[in-house]
C-alpha cells in the first residue's frame, strides 16, 4: 500500500512545483544571493566592524524598534477597524473600507511629504502637539508615525476575511452559557483571530522595517537619533561602497528573517491554541 495513489484536484504537481521553484528562485532567491555575494566582499572582520559602529547600532535599533512599536499599534487599531468594518452596517462604510488601501497605493514619497506637512510644527496636527510640547516631525516619533501609516492596511486586510467567516453562533452560545463580553472576546473570538492577526502584524512589521521613501521626509535624518538603517545603506551607496551597503542589507534581512520565523512559530502555537484539545 506504500504506492497508494494520491488523487489531487488539480493535476501537474511536478510541473507546478518546478514553476514555483523557478519563479521564486528568479524573483526572490537570485537577487538575495547577489546581495550576499556583494556583501561577502568585506569579510567577517569588516562585517563585525560595521556592526560594532555606534551609528549602525543606533540605526538598527530605530529601524527595528520603531517597526515593532508601529506594528503593535497597527495590530490593536487594525483589529478595531476591521471589526467595525465587518460587524457594523453604517452609511459610508464602503468608502471607509476603500480608504484602508490608500497607504498601499500612495507613492511613499507623497505619503512622507503629506505626513510631514501635517505633523511639522507649522502643520495642523504638528502645531497642536507643539503647543503641548510634543514634537512629532523630525523626531523618532515621526519615524513611528510613517511606519504606522504604511503598515496599517496589512492588519486590516488580513483580519477582514477571517472576521467575516467567524461563526456568530459560537458567540451566541458563549453568551447563553453565561460568558461575559470580555470573556467572549478573550476566549472565543481572539483565539480564532490570532493567526490572522499575527500574519498581519508580521506583514506590517516587514514593511515598516524596509520602509524608506516616506520615513526620510519626516525623520529629520540626524545621525544617532533619527537615522534609519535603509538611509545608512543609501549613504554607503553614495560613496560607491557597494559591499558595505550590501552587508547592511544582509544584516537587515537576517534580523527580519529571525523575527518572521519567530512569528510563524508563534502562529503555529496560536493555531493549536485555537483548536481546543483535539
Amino acid at each position: 500500500m506504500a504506492l497508494a495513489k494520491h488523487h489531487r484536484v488539480l493535476p501537474g504537481f511536478g510541473l507546478s512545483l518546478g514553476y514555483t521553484l523557478a519563479f521564486l528562485g528568479l524573483i526572490v532567491l537570485l537577487p538575495l544571493a547577489a546581495l550576499a555575494w556583494k556583501a561577502s566582499g568585506i569579510g567577517v572582520a569588516g562585517l563585525l566592524d560595521l556592526l560594532a559602529a555606534p551609528r549602525t547600532q543606533a540605526a538598527l535599533k530605530l529601524s527595528f524598534g520603531g517597526a515593532l512599536a508601529a506594528s503593535l499599534i497597527n495590530a490593536v487599531f487594525g483589529l478595531l477597524v476591521a471589526w467595525v468594518l465587518v460587524r457594523y452596517r453604517f452609511p459610508g462604510r464602503r468608502l471607509l473600507d476603500a480608504l484602508v488601501d490608500l497607504p498601499f497605493a500612495l507613492p511613499t514619497a507623497v505619503a512622507g511629504i503629506a505626513l510631514t506637512a501635517l505633523y511639522a510644527p507649522n502643520g495642523w496636527l504638528g502645531g497642536a502637539f507643539d503647543a503641548l510640547g510634543v514634537r512629532i516631525a523630525y523626531t523618532q516619533l515621526g519615524v513611528g508615525v510613517a511606519m504606522v501609516f504604511v503598515g496599517f492596511p496589512f492588519v486590516v486586510r488580513t483580519l477582514q476575511p477571517v472576521l467575516e467567516s467567524l461563526d456568530r453562533e459560537m458567540e451566541e452560545a458563549a453568551e447563553s452559557l453565561g460568558a461575559r463580553r470580555s470573556q467572549i472576546f478573550a476566549r472565543v473570538i481572539l483565539p480564532v483571530l490570532l493567526p490572522a492577526l499575527l500574519t498581519g502584524f508580521a506583514l506590517a512589521l516587514a514593511r515598516a522595517v524596509g520602509e524608506y521613501g516616506s520615513v526620510i521626509f519626516i525623520a529629520g535624518n540626524m545621525p544617532m537619533r533619527t537615522e534609519i538603517t535603509p538611509l545608512l545603506i543609501v549613504q554607503k551607496l553614495e560613496q560607491f561602497d557597494y559591499p558595505r551597503a550590501a552587508a547592511l542589507g544582509v544584516v537587515m534581512l537576517g534580523f527580519s528573517f529571525v523575527m518572521l520565523v519567530a512569528l510563524s512559530l508563534l502562529q503555529r502555537w496560536s493555531r493549536r491554541w485555537a483548536e481546543p484539545s483535539s
Binding site: Y138, G220, N221, M222, P223, Q239, R244
Partner: protein
Amino acid sequence: MKVKALLVLLVLSAMLAVGVASARTITLLNVSYDPTRELYQDLNRAFVAQWKAQHGDNVVIRMSHGGSGTQARSVADGLPASVVTLALAYDIDAIADRGLLAKNWQQRLPDNASPYTSTIVFLVRKGNPKQIRDWPDLIRPGVQVITPNPKTSGGARWNFLAAWGYALQQPGGSEARARTFVHALFQHVPVLDTGARGATNTFAQRGIGDVLLAWESEALLAQSKLGKDRFDIVVPSVSILAEPPVAVVDANVAKAGNRAVAEAYLEFLYTPRAQDIAARHFYRPRLAQVTQKHAGQFPVVETFTIAQLFGDWRKAQAKFFADGGVFDQIGPGSQPAR
C-alpha cells in the same frame, strides 16, 4: 522626349528619396541631476534646432534626472548615457573608475568641463529677521540652519566645503579653525534632508530654520517660484565656486556611434546662445559678455574653487565625506575629540 523627361523625373525623385533618407535621427541620452530639468528642456530645444539647420539630421535628446550620485551609479552599472551632466566631478570620476570614459575627462572641455557655475548663498526669511549677513552669523545662538546631508546630497557637499573654505581663509585661519567653525555650524542644523529639494521644502514649506544653505540657482528659483515677498537672498563675503561638470561617456558613444553629436552637444553649452539660456535658469554663465547682460541677477562674490583649496574632488571626498571622514567626526551625532 517623353522618355527623357520621365528619366529626369526618376533621377530627381531618387535623389529626393536619398536626401530624405539621409536626414537621420540620432538619439542622445543625457543623464543629469535633479534641478536641471527645466534648464535642459530649453537647451535641448535650441541644440536640436541648431543641429537640424547645420546638418539636416534630427537629434532626439532623452533626459534622465535624479540624485547626482544615484545617476552616476546607474551609468556605472550600465545605463547607456551618451553624456552625463552631474552636480560634482566626484560622481563622474566614479564612472571613469569603471573605465567608461577617460580619466582626464575634466581636461577635455574648457573651464574644468563646467559650462555654467553657481555658488553657495543663504536664503533667509523676508526682511532677514535674524540679521544674517555672513558665515559667522550662522553660528550665533538661536539661529537654525537648514542644509541637506553631505553624505547623501552632492549639493550639500558644496555647502560643507563652502563653510570650511570660508573659515580656512579668514585671517589666522587653519584646519583646526575650520573644523571648529563647521562643527559649530552643524550644531545649528536641526534636520538633514537627503537631497537639496527636500531641504528647500523643509525650509520654505515646513517653516523650519532661519537660513537655508543653497545653490544660488536653487535660491533664485525658490524665490521666483515661491514669491519674492517671502524670501531674501544673502550673498556671503566669500563662497565656493560650484562647478557642475559635463562629459561624454566614451564607451557608450562608441557603441552607439553618436560621438560627433554628443561632443557637439556639450560644446554647444559654451556658446553665447546656451550660456544665455543657462543664465535665464539662474546658472552663472562662463562667458563674460553673457554675465554682463545678466549682471543684475548675479551679484559679485569672491569665490574659491575646489582645486584651489582641496586639490580635487577625489581628495575632498576621501577627506571629508567618506565613512569616518571629517563630516562623520564633527557632524551631527559625533563626539569630536578635542
